[in-house]
């Protein structure tokens, strides 16, 4: 308690009054000792220490705390704290925490090698397509391999089809290999379905087809289909009710019955329809992605849940001190006291008080609740020490504090 000025030991008025109340001090004015009443009336006023502030002071001192007045100029600014300037008072007994600075961004030169290394990593996983490896190293080769592949596929496809046509002559249904001739009426030619399960339709043998359909001098007689039917698996497939229903619908399904298909007037439109459907199926509908405003995220691209949450978040979390440095000082809310824990818990020295336990702001129940602006100001003035608001109610004191809180995000990386 107290301070020295001009070589003399002096006491602050609230300290003097408290000591008087404890019976430890006598204050003389003009050779007469002051009574407690005189002390209250002389020392407490709205300009120096108000009665409410003295009530809080006395309450805390009686509990054993060390209570000092708050001096805003003696607190280092947040900038000084950011620079980690050693605070002269707190040097003893406190280690300077080294702030972790962000690692510097990788410079441009290593990136080329990085990407190359990545490309090579990809190569090792994809053994099937050798073309991709070559792609990374030399770009010239790029257009060639895919083309070679596609042409090979197509060529193979065509040849397969051709082979199939020729191979069909194994069956008894006569497919003419006359290419280019479109003068046949397919509705009059009977193509028997040997695989049909209904037996009534089949005689035991097939009549030979019309000789005009056959090439050259080929003479075909009656054919006994029984051994052929034996070779065909005519067993009924066991299907559940669902499957039977599905099979029925599938039999009835005709692509030409689709309304959208009917609306297409030419092949180009039909192809557009197919492309649209494909886009919708694969999750990238063209009408969404072709405009200026595209969806936030392509569902075909993999993304971590945390990043996705950040992408779609509308409200950004903020902390209490955000924007606090820009606020101008308000007159009504002021920090009055620094409260330090008693000597048994922490070392307190007048020359080096250390970090306060909390800071007190005094008001009454008739005053309005501090708004966000006031709370930000108080937190900014106080730094990292919580501000406690002591509300005085005609003799009862209640202590309230506002704590910063972050909503937890339930994301497993």
């Amino acid at each position: 308690m107290g301070f020295s000025a001009n070589g003399k030991q002096c006491l602050l008025p609230e300290e003097a009054l408290y000591l008087m109340e404890c019976g430890n001090l006598q204050v003389f004015h003009q050779d007469l000792p002051l009574s407690i009443q005189d002390g209250y009336e002389k020392f407490l006023s709205a300009n120096t220490v108000s009665l409410q502030q003295y009530q809080v002071f006395g309450h805390l001192k009686r509990l054993g705390y060390v209570v000092l007045r708050f001096d805003p100029s003696s607190e280092s600014s947040s900038y000084a704290r950011q620079l980690n300037l050693p605070q002269s008072r707190d040097r003893a007994g406190r280690q300077l925490k080294r702030k972790r600075s962000l690692s510097p961004a990788p410079s441009s030169t290593p990136t080329a090698t990085c990407s190359r290394a990545e490309a090579q990593e990809e190569c090792s996983t994809e053994k099937m397509e050798e073309d991709k490896c070559s792609e990374g190293e030399e770009d010239i080769k790029l257009p060639e391999p895919p083309e070679a592949q596609s042409s090979a596929d197509e060529g193979g496809g065509r040849s397969w089809w051709m082979m199939d046509v020729l191979g069909d002559s194994d069956k008894d249904s006569g497919h003419g290999s006359k290419s280019g001739s479109s003068c046949w009426d397919f509705s009059s030619i009977s193509f028997p379905d040997l695989g049909s399960t209904s037996r009534e339709h089949f005689p035991s043998d097939l009549a030979p087809p019309d000789p005009s359909l056959l090439p050259g001098d080929l003479k075909v007689g009656f054919c006994d289909i029984a051994p052929w039917r034996q070779k065909i698996n005519l067993r009924q497939v066991k299907m559940s009710a669902n499957e039977q229903k599905r099979e029925k619908y599938r039999r009835r399904w005709d692509v030409n019955k689709n309304r959208e298909v009917r609306r297409c007037r030419n092949w180009a439109e039909y192809q557009e329809l197919m492309a649209r459907r494909k886009g919708k199926r694969e999750g990238r509908p063209a009408h969404l992605w072709n405009r200026e405003v595209t969806p936030l995220h392509d569902p075909t691209q993999p993304i971590a849940t945390g990043e996705l949450l950040e992408k779609i978040s509308v409200i950004k979390p903020t902390h209490l001190l955000e924007g606090a440095s820009r606020l101008k000082d308000a007159d009504d809310w002021r920090i009055c006291f620094n409260v330090y824990q008693p000597n048994t818990v922490a070392d307190f020295k007048k020359s080096n008080p250390g970090k306060p336990y909390s800071r007190m702001c005094v008001c009454s129940f008739d005053d309005p609740v501090p708004d966000l602006r006031a709370i930000k100001l108080l937190a900014y003035q106080s730094g990292d020490i919580p501000v406690v608001i002591a509300v005085v109610d005609y003799g009862d004191i209640s202590f309230y504090t506002f704590k910063d809180f972050q909503l937890p995000t339930d994301v497993y990386p």
Binding site: C22, S35, Q37, R62, D393, S398
Partner: protein, 290 residues
């Protein structure tokens, strides 16, 4: 505690008997009562107030506090209405440094010093007696030595000034020394002032008139705590919340205060002063299922 023998202060009115006025002094615009008889008088009126100061015998605890007594503004208003309050002057400026006061103080000090030195000597003698009679067994030799020691003590004993216990008076001791104070006592607030008209004061007056004791209820979220008798003997039964009749109350506030009341086992009382000086009360109680 000083024993001031101030007589009954009568107000300058025609009435023969007036109750002694309670001296109220303002500190930082808060009404405080300092003298013991004033505190008793205030309690006799049924007004509780709140004690603020340290208790002289056990100053370093917050359980029981001592003088001064802080009055609620409603209590102060009630006292003023009953013409029972009187303002004490801030300081007797004329006489503060005056010779009379200093002389009185010095006389008090001297008297106290003499009293204490006598008591100190007695104490030392007793201690000596105990020491002497405890150590030796022989009667006659002990008596002789004892008497000699006691004589020496009587002659040589001095009670130093620095060892004197000093009494710090709680209320201003100078009041009885200021004759002008009496003149000030009569004027507390303008004479014939209208009692305060706001809702809180009306409710306070009505409930006090019914015999309840009231204290402030800030930490219970209400205006007053209502006790059926003296707060030292009873728990509060009600939390009074003052609402004016034409003011619309948000239902959420009603729910909040009802919840609070049920949590602390008190009935919430919504009090609304009516037009003809009658107060309308509505109680909220958590009643369970049906």
């Amino acid at each position: 505690m000083e024993a001031l023998s101030c007589g009954e202060r009568r107000l300058g009115s025609e009435e023969e008997y007036a109750a002694p006025a309670v001296g109220v002094s303002l500190c930082d615009s808060a009404p405080l009562v300092w003298r013991m008889q004033d505190l008793r008088a205030v309690r006799a009126e049924g007004l509780v107030g709140a004690l603020l100061g340290s208790l002289p015998r056990t100053p370093r605890q917050n359980g029981r506090l001592g003088r001064p007594l802080l009055l609620l503004p409603e209590e102060e208003g009630l006292l003023r209405e009953r013409r029972a309050a009187a303002a004490l002057p801030d300081r007797c400026q004329q006489d503060w440094g005056g010779a009379e006061l200093r002389q009185k103080h010095e006389e008090e000090e001297k008297r106290s010093f003499e009293e204490q030195s006598v008591l100190a000597l007695e104490d030392r003698k007793l201690a000596l007696l105990r020491a002497m009679t405890g150590a030796e067994s022989g009667a006659t030799s002990a008596d002789e030595a004892l008497r000699r020691r006691l004589q020496a003590l009587d002659q040589n004993f001095t009670f130093p000034q620095s060892a004197m216990a000093v009494q710090l008076s709680t209320a201003r001791a100078g009041l009885s020394y200021c004759p002008e104070a009496r003149a000030f006592l009569q004027a507390y607030g303008p004479p014939g002032a209208e009692p305060r008209c706001d809702a809180r004061y009306q409710v306070f007056r009505d409930l006090r008139g019914r015999g309840f004791y009231l204290t402030s209820a800030g930490k219970f979220g209400g205006d007053f705590l209502v006790y059926p008798g003296d707060p030292l003997r009873f728990h509060a039964h009600f939390i009074a919340v003052c609402v004016s009749l034409d003011e619309s109350v948000c239902l959420l506030d009603v729910l909040a205060v009802a919840r609070l009341g049920s949590n602390v086992k008190k009935t919430v009382l919504l009090c609304s002063p009516g037009p003809d000086a009658r107060v309308c009360y509505t109680s909220l109680q958590w009643s369970g299922m049906i």
